[in-house]
Symmetry: C2
Subunit: 136 residues, 2 copies
Amino acid sequence: MIPSISYITLGVEDLARSVAFYHDVFGWPTDGIIGTEFEHGAVVFFKLDKGITFALWPRTSIAHDAGIACGPRDPSGLLLAHNVGSHAEVDQIMAQLQSGGADIKKPAQPLFWGGYGGLIADPDGHLWEIVYNPHR
Amino acid sequence: MIPSISYITLGVEDLARSVAFYHDVFGWPTDGIIGTEFEHGAVVFFKLDKGITFALWPRTSIAHDAGIACGPRDPSGLLLAHNVGSHAEVDQIMAQLQSGGADIKKPAQPLFWGGYGGLIADPDGHLWEIVYNPHR
């Protein structure tokens, strides 16, 4: 099993709200909600760099697919990172996200390991770190 | 903000249990737990293809970092996919994961959109789809 992840799918409460967030606030291109002709088919895809696909799918659809219960949300289970090339880029993106209404969890600041970054939450509480890693 | 994710960090209950799962059952190379000299620093990194890093970090560390509560786990919030090149590869990996003790949520089967895949859960319930997409 080669070390590879090809799709990262977030479970969300409200697909329209989430696509608005990632399209309008992050500024990521997408064709929007597709697959509505299928039961549990409604989904949103964003093509990322490196051939990775980021997707949004209702939590209820993920729970149905896996035959699990859909309990209260738990944002402590995941942290996604968006790395950028400088302190200034971190500050610029954090300002862009804040003005778009993102929930700022930690303002941009120096990190103990030598990096610089901040944390935001999407409308479902999914956490993102916007971060500069000088060692990378 | 370019469409990019550089780190995918899963929040876990027991770092040693999770590193054993991803190292021994998935078979992914790692240096194991590092950073234990720092408070909330203990973490595990796996270098994936395409320059992506997959990380394991205690849920309590993520919650502390983001200043959020660490509630009950919610596996409906995330689905990661590992795409492979054929039906046979899906079957082989699902068998490998099952024999390693992975929790099989959905045996490999044809999917409504034309693919073929199965679902497993890691020790924290994080969901993985092992999947072949003939359209990709």
